[in-house]
């Protein structure tokens, strides 16, 4: 109990928020699983950011088809010579360059789709968990109905109906994973709504939306961040699957799932065309999953 207080204490200054956030991220060092995950994710983020600098060729430049990994390229009129480190595909495009540029696609749309799904899911979950009553009944039943469909069928229906475009992919993912997020947030809200600080906000007459967004949501962040990390992995898979099914981004722009799909029929003869995009997808997903595991591990420790 600090009782010795002088009234002449200078006005306090704000504790910087950014260093605090960085320090709590620094705790990740305690979990090697988390470090490996963060390393993988950061590697792909760096690759995506530096794509124009590190990609040896243009992603859509057709050079020499069916080259094995490591084959040298003599150069032509418009493209200087170099090496096809991971070989080329049936149209003669450099696989390494396409992977590098393709990371931009997945790292743009996966977080964007997850964010959208979270926005919708959180608001639904908060409303259902806090307001209860008929709001809860209606929202929960809607979620049940959506969750009772096979997810893949849902994607195919949505994208086949509205066409393959980035917006529609995001919409499809939001639609399919929103209900799952809603259930998590609803559960957390049910627990948090009985806290006394919520009662304190109610007794000063705060509006329900203020209570949900300012009093409850920030305190649900722990489990939500871990789940978001896992879900990023699932969304990456989904985008890959959509690409593979031909429902992803329209060609010729590089898309990992699409690359696998295009090379699928030649997988026996030219395995490198499918293997390398597969590795790229799994390493990124592994990164997200390990990062989520690490975050969960450090959040459980005291």
């Amino acid at each position: 109990m600090a009782q010795a207080t002088t009234l002449t204490v200078p006005a306090p200054t704000s504790g910087a928020a950014l260093p605090r956030a960085l320090r709590s991220l620094g705790l990740l060092r305690e979990s090697w699983v988390g470090m490996v995950g963060a390393g993988l994710v950061l590697f792909w983020v760096a690759v995506a950011l530096l794509a124009p600098l590190i990609a040896p060729f243009g992603p859509n430049a057709t050079l020499v088809p069916f080259q094995k990994p490591g084959a040298a390229f003599a150069g032509n009129a418009s493209v200087p010579p170099g090496t096809f480190w991971l070989g080329t595909d049936h149209l003669g495009r450099d696989i390494l360059s396409r992977l590098i540029w393709g990371s931009r696609t997945v790292l743009t749309y996966a977080p964007l789709a997850t964010l959208c799904a979270y926005t919708v899911g959180s608001i639904m979950g908060l409303a259902a968990g806090y307001l209860r009553g008929w709001v809860d009944d209606v929202l929960s039943r809607i979620a049940d109905i959506i969750l009772s469909f096979p997810v893949l069928v849902l994607y195919v229906i949505i994208i086949a109906t509205f066409g393959a475009s980035p917006i529609n992919i995001i919409f499809a993912i939001t639609f399919a994973s929103g209900p799952g997020i809603m259930r998590i947030v609803r559960g957390l809200t049910l627990d948090l709504r009985s806290r006394e600080y919520v009662a304190a906000a109610e007794t000063r007459g705060d509006s329900p939306w203020r209570i949900m967004l300012v009093e409850i949501l920030p305190n649900a962040r722990g489990p939500v961040i871990v789940d978001a990390c896992l879900r990023l992995g699932y969304v990456t898979i989904t985008i890959g699957v959509l690409g593979f099914l031909g429902l992803g981004l329209p060609p010729p722009n590089p898309d990992w799932g699409g690359m696998i799909n295009e090379a699928r029929s030649m997988a026996m003869a030219f395995p490198h065309m499918t293997l390398f995009p597969c590795f790229a997808i799994s390493s990124l997903i592994l990164g997200f999953n390990l990062l989520a595991d690490g975050l969960r591990e450090i959040s459980l420790r005291d």
Binding site: M1, T5, P12, R195, A199, R204, G205, E215, R221
Partner: protein, 708 residues
């Protein structure tokens, strides 16, 4: 392999035990240099505030300290066998058979998916290999010993089908089944109501006599320790600071910390005006920041630089002045300090002026509707039943006054607070605050002036502040919301002034709640309640989950602010000693109804309502000079769905006079001006009842008991 016990050795002998936990912040010593001897049949109390290491001692005895705990040095001998050197399978022979432990929360100690009988029978079957038949017979016999009224039925019941008090009795029975030599009790009654606690406490005392079991009783409650133990060790910051027999230590505490603790508890001799509580200043040092020399040094009024902080202080035997031989204290100045010369109680304060009426409650009712969906209910047509949380409450409160609502869990005191604050609306009757009827206006229908003038301090300090926002912004929000100030700079200034009022440093403005201790959080809670200049504040058990010394400081603070602002305080509590200390008037509730109301003197002296009488008897008092009449209530609180038709207390009343109690609502009898008792017993008979608490003042502790 069988362990060989020496039956002549003490049941437990701990010597120079040190226990450490390894955490992120490095190795933290939790218990330092702890010694204790427990003889056969003896009951030893371990008392101290949270974080003093008392539970760690129990865990060390059980050799169960989790992943990061380790015994650094010292020995623990159980009947001559060194426990620290035993292997896991040898320990398994001991745990639950020779040494049993009873935990704080009975519902967590019982497996919800097994019948109680199965769980009880397991003990002799596993430890002694007896057959089903005999195990069953023994379980039933022990259940009878712990005074469970219907052992056969309880054997087939699941834990959720019996009450909390009954559950704790079953846990005790389970611990006794193997006839242990040592029983470890870690706050066994803290989670229970006072009247239930009184029954369990008595049972534990009787049982140890009957079975000859030695006990280590861990508690934060000095009063309870006084009632159940022969000897006591007071712990502070990982060390024992004082030990001795109950009488010697309670009448002549020699360590300044022990002495300070007595100044913090509202003994019958304390009075909010004449002899207020005297909180211990400062706070418990963090385990890795303990000071050099005496751990209590920085908080001690008798600290002498150069002596107290020179080297580690050993335990020193207390002699003379009627002290018993084994009375020891960890204080090198014990013989020099004259506690009588300093004022053990705080400075006397002027009584408050009582002003106009602020709150009038008239026949207020709050019913909750419960829809019964069972088939029987549909057939009989009685689908809607009512839980009568509050039944025709009648009382008022005036400006500057403290009115306490007392009752056990489920008596409807928190429901009443919810109606007042507007989280619920009343079913009937009127609640007038500053002349306006607010009984039917939910909080969102009230004006911000109405909301601001009626605020609340919540119970749980760990729950009362939003962990995601800074202290300053949470207080500022209230000021903004109630329109006390609108200018940003002025709001900030007012928040800082409020922090000064509740005696917190100004740089707490930017702190987060998790950086604060429980007491500090509760201070912020008080600042928040007073931010809107309320005319009335409802405090729902504001100090019940705080440590003794912190609770004293928060109680005093609350009353100082009340004094300054002439606020009406509605104090909701189950703890009669706190209530006696700070209330002007008391309302005693049971099952949603008022049993008795009057001034504090009227309620605490005869004539009593029989329930008030039982409550008074149930509260443990940490003063050996005080004698109490023992009244132990039988039975459980009736279900609120199905309360007795007549007097609500009839099922447990020890003064029941007959059929009339079961069949008719008792009348409100006026015993004196403002003193009402709802009972069928004629007032003349109630007046004959002797006082429950009598103080012997002939040889009272002169230092503390100077006021009556």
């Amino acid at each position: 392999m069988r362990l060989l016990f020496d039956e002549n050795a003490p049941v437990l002998e701990i010597k120079d035990l040190s226990v450490s936990y390894s955490t992120r912040a490095g190795e933290i010593p939790a218990v330092i240099d702890f010694s204790l001897t427990v003889q056969k049949g003896e009951s030893v109390g371990l008392v101290g505030e949270s974080g003093c290491g008392k539970s760690t001692v129990a865990m060390a005895i059980m050799q169960h300290m989790g992943q990061n705990g380790a015994i650094k040095s010292g020995s623990i001998r159980f009947k001559g066998v060194e426990l620290t050197k035993l292997r896991q399978e040898e320990l398994r022979q001991l745990r639950g058979s020779k040494i049993s432990m009873i935990y704080q929360e009975p519902f967590a100690a019982l497996n919800p998916s097994l019948t109680l009988g199965r769980q009880l029978m397991e003990v002799p079957i596993v430890h002694e290999g007896v057959g089903e038949q005999e195990a069953r017979a023994r379980a039933i016999r022990v259940l009878g010993d712990v005074r469970i009224p219907d052992p056969e039925r309880v054997m087939t019941a699941y834990p959720h089908q019996i009450s909390g008090g009954q559950q704790q009795r079953v846990v005790i029975a389970m611990a006794l089944l193997s006839n242990p030599a040592l029983l470890l009790l870690d706050e066994p009654t803290t989670a229970l109501d006072v009247t239930v606690e009184a029954g369990i406490t008595k049972l534990i005392g009787d049982i140890s006599k009957q079975y000859g079991t030695s006990q280590i009783y861990i508690s934060h409650n000095l009063g309870l320790i006084r009632e159940v133990c022969d000897r006591v060790s007071v712990m502070y910051s990982g060390e024992v600071v004082e030990e001795g027999t109950i009488y010697s230590l309670f009448t002549r505490p020699k360590h300044p910390y022990t002495h300070g603790l007595f100044g913090c508890i509202p003994l019958p001799s304390a009075d909010k005006n004449a002899a207020p509580l005297r909180p211990i200043r400062g706070q418990l040092p963090l385990p890795h920041e303990r000071p050099h020399g005496c751990n209590f040094g920085p908080r001690c009024d008798f600290f002498q630089a150069g002596r107290c902080d020179a080297k580690d202080i050993p335990m020193i035997a207390i002699t003379g002045d009627g002290a018993t031989a084994d009375h020891r204290a960890r204080c090198i100045r014990w013989s020099e300090i004259d506690f009588g010369a300093t004022l053990a109680r705080g400075q006397a304060k002027d009584p408050m002026e009582i002003g106009r009426t602020v709150l009038e409650v008239e026949r207020m009712q709050k019913y909750y509707e419960v829809t019964d969906r069972s088939l029987a209910a549909i057939i009989s047509g009685k689908r809607v039943r009512y839980v009568k949380a509050n039944e025709s409450l009648d009382f008022d409160a005036r400006r500057g006054e403290t009115v306490a609502i007392v009752g056990e869990s489920g008596c409807g005191k928190s429901t009443f607070a919810k109606v007042l604050i507007g989280l619920e609306t009343a079913t009937g009757g009127e609640v007038r605050h500053d002349g306006q009827n607010i009984a039917n206006i939910p909080v969102r229908g009230r004006t911000s002036k109405q909301i601001g003038s009626l605020q609340m301090v919540f119970q749980n300090p760990f729950d009362t502040l939003n962990p995601s926002h800074s202290i300053g912004s949470q207080i500022a929000r209230v000021i903004k919301k109630f329109g006390v100030e609108t200018d940003k700079a002025k709001i900030r200034e007012r928040v800082l002034a409020l922090l000064d009022t509740v005696k917190l440093p100004r740089d707490f403005y930017y702190r987060r709640p998790r950086q604060l201790s429980g007491g500090q959080k509760q201070r912020v809670g008080i600042a928040r309640a007073f931010a809107g200049n309320p005319s009335m504040v409802i405090a729902d058990e504001p100090v019940s989950s705080l440590d003794v010394s912190v609770a004293a400081a928060v109680t005093e603070l609350l009353m100082d602010i009340q004094r300054k602002h002439k606020t009406t305080l509605l104090f909701i509590s189950h703890d009669l000693s706190v209530v006696r200390y700070l209330a002007d008037r008391i309302v005693v509730m049971y099952l949603g109804q008022i049993m008795e109301r009057g001034t504090t003197e009227q309620v605490f002296g005869p004539p009593y309502h029989p329930y008030t009488e039982a409550l008074l008897s149930a509260v443990p008092i940490a003063d050996p000079q005080v004698t109490k009449r023992e009244i132990v209530l039988e039975g459980n609180l009736p279900s609120v769905l199905n309360p007795p038709k007549g007097c609500p207390f009839t099922t447990r009343c020890h003064r029941k006079i007959g059929r009339i109690c079961d069949d008719e609502r008792p009348p409100m009898q006026m015993a004196a001006e403002g003193h009402a008792i709802a009972c069928h017993i004629p007032l003349a008979d109630l007046r004959q009842v002797e006082p429950v608490i009598t103080a012997r003042r002939d040889q009272g502790r002169p230092q503390v008991a100077q006021h009556t």
